[in-house]
Amino acid sequence: MGAIRAPKQPAVKGSAKPAELKQVLEVQGRKVPVSRLEKVFYPATGFTKGDVIDFYIRISSVLLPHLKNRPLTLKRYPDGVEGGFFYEKRCPPYRPDWVQTAPVWSDKNDSEIHFCLANDLPSIIWAANLGDLELHTFLAKAKQIDRPTMLVFDLDPGPPANIVQCCEVGLLVKERFDRMGLESFAKTSGSKGLQVYVPLNTAVSYDTTKTFAHNLAQELESQRPELIVSRMEKRLRTGKILVDWSQNDRHKTTVCVYSLRAKEHPTVSTPVTWEEVRSALKKKDPDKLRFTSDEVLRRVEKHGDLFEPVLKLKQKLKG
């Protein structure tokens, strides 16, 4: 009752819908729809959506192996870094049929959620076109979702501490693993902090990695309480580095290496050598560990993929 019915004549006079400006990119035999490539996503530098896609194309050869078969949570900035963002776990149903997905059980929803997989370049471009600036992946692969392939420490600085202090902590973490005979690798988060990855690529559970990481974080905290915290409360963190061990969880995603970040400038989560970490600490210069998209491409040309061992090296946690 009370339903409004429109009159017979069209209610709107003379406003035809403008033609949709859609283009198609031919990528490895697939037609990837792209739109509004000229839209500025990073106003501080004028970096556009087209530039974002371009970066991902050019970094794809080193990026793809790290994304392969890892469920991806999209972090979409449809209006660029100054607009809002939203996370999307369920792979959008309107995706092209060649975008692969992986089912992951969600206790919260009491059902499976199909996550996107960025297993090839066309899929990355499709996601980037949706404004997925940042690539956040699980620590495990889809087929063995309960088996993390690495241990991760996210070192997050509480202002006024910055990445320089993270370097000091990162080296402490590395030293611990050195003593256990395990290799570790560092990358910038692309934001404020540093991340230390310990490749495992062997049979291990999240319970093991999480407990191990928690214990290590607490140990470090008790040794250097003026520098390190292991708990999240913001008020504890002023001037200290949070050793975030809680990322080692089957529900959590971590930003993938070579991913752009939605910061003011198009900075990238970049792998760095331990020499570079020591050098930044010695010189107390945070800019030594800040890389934008162009800089990362140059580094990759020069050094190749510094993070390749994180995928290949097999190590076992002891104790």
Binding site: G2, I4, R5, A6, P7, A11, V12, K13, S15, K17, P18, L21, Q23, V24, L25, E26, V27, Q28, V34, R36, L37, E38, V40, G46, F47, T48, G50, D51, I53, D54, I57, R58, I59, S60, S61, V62, G84, F85, F86, Y87, K89, K108, L121, D294, L297, R298, V300, E301, G304
Partner: protein, 293 residues
């Protein structure tokens, strides 16, 4: 027609049960489903941006930094001191009273006439589930014939309510009630006691009331305000409604074909340096995308 499935109306469930549980008292347990008994007939308006009638949406943003927070990152908290919270999860709510979830626990039966209508708040309907029909009908008849209602406690959406199980013709209704402590004491209001008036005035007042008396007929009263608004809406639609601006109207037709070819070029280069990385000079390519725009 046998009892059981066929006795129940196979009505299309346009009404959705709020929960399924049971009426319980003494050793009796009657499985039921709870349905709302009222429906709000409200006109729904949408907020629109004036310039182009684009619907305006709401986002949940964190106070700390203005960043949008998705539902899966939101928890319920209780502010026990300014700015200090304790978080309560679903398990915590369940823990508070494991027994009182999804059941109408009748404590006493009282005479309906004894209850001041001010206590009644919101009505729901109870529908018997399978195997409960007989007990349901029995309870209903017993209440009808005795003029009594069951006073019960029930938890709906984490809140406990006082309620009356009341026969409403063929249905058992669950009338949510106010707890006595919820009724505000009217003694604070300035109310005169016995009127300072003469018998004649009182007689005139009673006469007036008498003249305006009719038999109670609820259908006689309708929401005229709502009807008048609908009339205004009809008028506007007839005289030419306005369509919202289509989404994502591009500002100008930029030389977009160029951008695509620039990207295609990157793709060629990327695939040419197979297995490795883009080897050409990155600097010459810098900002090429933006400049082509």
């Amino acid at each position: 027609m046998d009892s059981g499935e066929s006795a129940r109306k196979l009505s299309p469930k346009s009404m959705r049960a709020i929960w399924k549980g049971s009426i319980s008292f003494s050793l009796i347990n009657i499985p039921i489903a709870l349905y709302p008994a009222t429906r709000k007939e409200e006109l729904k308006f949408r907020l629109l941006r004036a310039s182009d009638l684009s619907p305006v949406n709401y986002k949940r943003v964190a106070e700390a930094d203005g960043v949008e927070v998705p539902w899966d990152q939101i928890v319920k908290g209780y502010e026990y001191e300014k700015g200090k919270f304790v978080v309560l999860k679903d398990e915590d709510f369940k823990r508070a009273d494991v027994e009182a979830t999804q059941s109408v626990d009748i404590i006493d039966f009282v005479d309906l006439d004894d209850i001041n209508p001010i206590f009644f708040d919101k009505p729901y309907y109870l529908e018997p589930e399978k195997r409960g029909e007989k007990a349901y009908a029995l309870l209903r008849e017993a209440l009808k014939q005795s003029g009594k209602v069951g006073i019960a406690k029930v938890v709906i959406k984490t809140r406990q309510h006082l309620a009356a199980v009341k026969p409403q013709k063929q249905v058992l209704a669950l009338e949510l009630m106010h707890f006595a402590e919820e009724i505000v004491d009217a003694s604070e209001l300035k109310i005169p006691e016995a009127p300072d008036v003469g018998t004649r005035e009182l007689a005139m007042a009673k006469d007036l009331v008498d003249k305006m008396s009719v038999k109670w007929d609820p259908s006689k009263y309708t929401d005229d305000y709502r009807h008048r608004i609908l009339d205004v809406i009809h008028e506007k639609v007839e005289s030419g409604g306005k369509e919202a601006a289509p989404r994502g109207t591009p500002k100008k037709a930029t030389n977009v074909v160029d951008l695509v070819s620039v990207l295609q070029e990157s793709l060629e280069q990327a695939s040419r340096s197979s297995g490795g990385h883009s080897k050409r000079k990155t600097t010459s390519h810098k900002r090429k995308i933006s400049r082509a725009a």
